[in-house]
Symmetry: C3
């Protein structure tokens, strides 16, 4: 069986598709991966649910007990929704520079521009409106959705997926103020972006080119929509950057770092391996490996939750403090307050 | 008269255009909708101002007293700035799949791609660079500005307006970690986005497709620029999402919800009808209908403002606390401090 | 010499390129502009470093002592990385309206749309996928990267640089609620955007057109990626808006204002000249010239840092307060607590 696991229930159920617990219809397979969704599990119409050992009562459903339900679900779902196949070839409505090398199995759709000296790997797919600058390299099996722009010299690895309107290799944001004019003098952004293999980058996300050297998105990292990765930053392998995250510049994320939505990380910092940063946090100092932080400026998540609980009560604390002060003054004067 | 209302002043003034109080020139009509702008009202050069009963002294201006000045203004402004008319037809420089159905009154401009089985309604308008995937449906009178991407299977209702570079139907952000490799295994995103009628979506905003089922933007909702709507979320009808808002995923907004700029809402929550969330707030728990919240984590706005007022004074409170402690210790030792 | 300055070390070193301290190789020139990077200075492989007087021991490196190292570096770097030269002419694969005026020295690449009555200045460059609406004006030497959209009537000055997928002139976000339907009635956005000379605007950044009049980005201002500038805002000259900043609407920034990443500024405010707003701050009231603020709501940065230091200790303070209260009660009862 695809997912392994132990069957608990009717083994003859025919699975016709996959779905989340809440959207599932009879005949579908779903998964229960988090105790938060106990209610959804009880109410689901899914016929089969992937669960961990010790899941709540299964009722009339069939359970398959596996070690990692979301992972098992992902694998089953991939069977039901195989990757789309593309017809190879270069559209006559695309513009491919004569010096560019496009693999015979690649797909280049209409209104695509492929710049001088660019290299497009096997089975790569460029959707309409994609722009590739000079000397851009696109790895095997990588898919660039509509209106993606990859600027001069940037390198995208194999099996990557870039969603619509992502921008790779816009200039880093670097200027020097000349007060004598006055003007902000542009520091040329002469580096590139290197996106390693198996990376996904969301719609309208921006990874800026380095001033010199490389901005790097490491192997297997996944970046959501509307994310900003500043120049000369390094996103370690296997990291997760949720929507609207911003990395300032020369920021170094270790391996397997998770940044929740709208997190901001200041420049010239190192975020240690496997660190987890809560939504909207603002990180302004290095984080050791395995840090779990929230807040702005960020602090250990447990501390943040405790301090936040007190924050709500600050007006009350303030009143109490004033009250204590009065009573203390009264005592100091040798009498209790009226 | 278009707006109804009661005239207070010179009824013979010829209105030549509309404008905000601050930008208005003589001959123009403006409106006063918020007591905050009393100064602008006093200083305006507008000849006619739409006001509510009880507005400040009108000076030499003409007032028209109406129930809802901004609404009356919107209606007058629409008369002065009627919707643009487009020439129907498909540009020979567009690519329309032979199986796609484009209504005879629709406008398809240059460099547009219309995918297999797509359906374009009457008077719909596709600006240059628009990409429509397979089986996309665009309702009557809907306008997609330049470089908008609508991915496979997504449905856009009637009379919608999508601004440049908006992306509808990029993959939801879903992965399962396989530690044995290690890698983040992609959970296929097989659902769609359904945008109901009369919706406006801002430039570079992203509405992700559902994992299974639908991500929904409800009828009459208005979404500003650079907004992220995560997979399987539901934006209730008549909601307002200001710029840079982010909804994580499987987030449910009720009817008439207002999220101010840069708000973040965590996943698997319900935000009740008519709730108002202040700018930059972070919502991490369900909100009852009619909630008015601010802060991160969010709390009732009144509480947030009070707590914020104390936050500024925390160092002072801290000092006072230490002082009280010393004095108390002194008292406990049976003497007042020196 | 290009940068002026005083030589300290081996004047015969041949500089082969420029780089940041951390990425530099032997033969390269770098700069030391901030005491934070003392370690990087000590460890750099750069052969020549631009420094201010009083820099740390130079070791085997050559120093050039200048007044403003980043500025000197920018100027040297521009020599090593001169601006790209473009071949003038209009691609036959572009669509230029017959009434548009394109300067003979301008470059219009494939799949570009130039609307009715648009004017393109000398040496301006339009990358593939650029969309210019009716009556758009593009100044001399201005470069619009791939998939940039500039909507009807907007004016871009000379020597500007707009990065990929930037959107200039999408509709401002203005509606009036008509409860009788109910619906949000659109307030027509009939104004324009005016971007003055020497402005840089980042990838996927959005500057909305005014309701009436103009939204203005002042001369020499630099805007990073994914920034939102709301309708009728004015960004004063020489301002710096870092990534993911949001200006609500009718916001006025003075001269030389610096907004760090993810800052939000509410509408109808004035931010005084030379103000500096820290990352993620939320500004909800006017700021005097020269303000230096952080936090949300924003406050003087020094106060924010002090209050934040106490915030982390709030649970401890809370405990101390309760302890003091108990002890005080005991004293009030005439006895010390057990």
């Amino acid at each position: 069986m695809l997912v392994g696991g132990t069957l608990d229930g009717d083994g003859s159920v025919q699975v016709t598709g996959v779905s989340g617990l809440e959207q599932a219809r009879p005949g579908q397979l779903s998964f229960f991966g988090n105790q938060k969704y106990k209610k959804a599990l009880a109410a689901t119409k899914a016929s089969v649910v992937l669960v961990q050992a010790g899941a709540p009562d299964r009722g009339a459903k069939t359970y398959i007990v596996v070690g990692n339900p979301p992972l098992a679900f992902a694998k089953v779902a991939q069977k039901f929704h195989p990757a789309r196949q593309y017809v190879a070839g270069v559209s006559p409505k695309a513009t491919v520079h004569p010096t560019a090398q496009v693999h015979a199995t690649a797909t280049v759709m209409d209104f695509v521009t492929v710049g001088q000296g660019a290299v497009i790997g096997a089975r790569a797919v460029l959707y309409p409106g994609v722009y590739l600058g000079e000397a851009v390299s696109i790895g095997e099996g990588t898919v660039l959705k509509a209106n993606v722009s990859v600027m001069d010299g940037c390198v995208i690895g194999a099996r990557c997926l870039l969603h619509a309107s992502a921008v790779i290799g816009a200039d880093g944001f670097g200027f020097a103020l000349d007060m004598s004019v006055p003007e902000h003098v542009k520091i040329p952004q002469a580096g590139i972006v290197r996106v390693e293999d198996d990376v996904e980058i969301g719609a309208c996300s921006c990874v800026d080119r380095a001033t010199t050297g490389e901005t790097v998105v490491g192997k297997g990292s996944k970046i959501d929509n509307l994310v900003q990765v500043g120049h000369n930053s390094t996103v370690g392998p296997l990291s997760i950057l949720c929507a609207q995250v911003g990395l300032a510049g020369t920021t170094e994320l270790g391996t397997g770092v998770v940044l929740a939505g709208q997190v901001g990380v200041a420049g010239h910092l190192r975020i240690g391996d496997l660190s987890k940063v809560g939504a909207q946090a603002g990180v302004i100092s290095d984080l050791a490996d395995g840090s779990v932080v929230m807040g702005a400026p960020s602090m250990p998540s447990r501390d943040f939750m405790k301090s936040s609980a007190v924050f709500v009560r600050l007006p009350e604390l303030h009143r109490e403090l004033r009250d204590l002060k009065k009573r203390l003054e009264a005592l100091e004067k040798g009498k209790t307050p009226s």
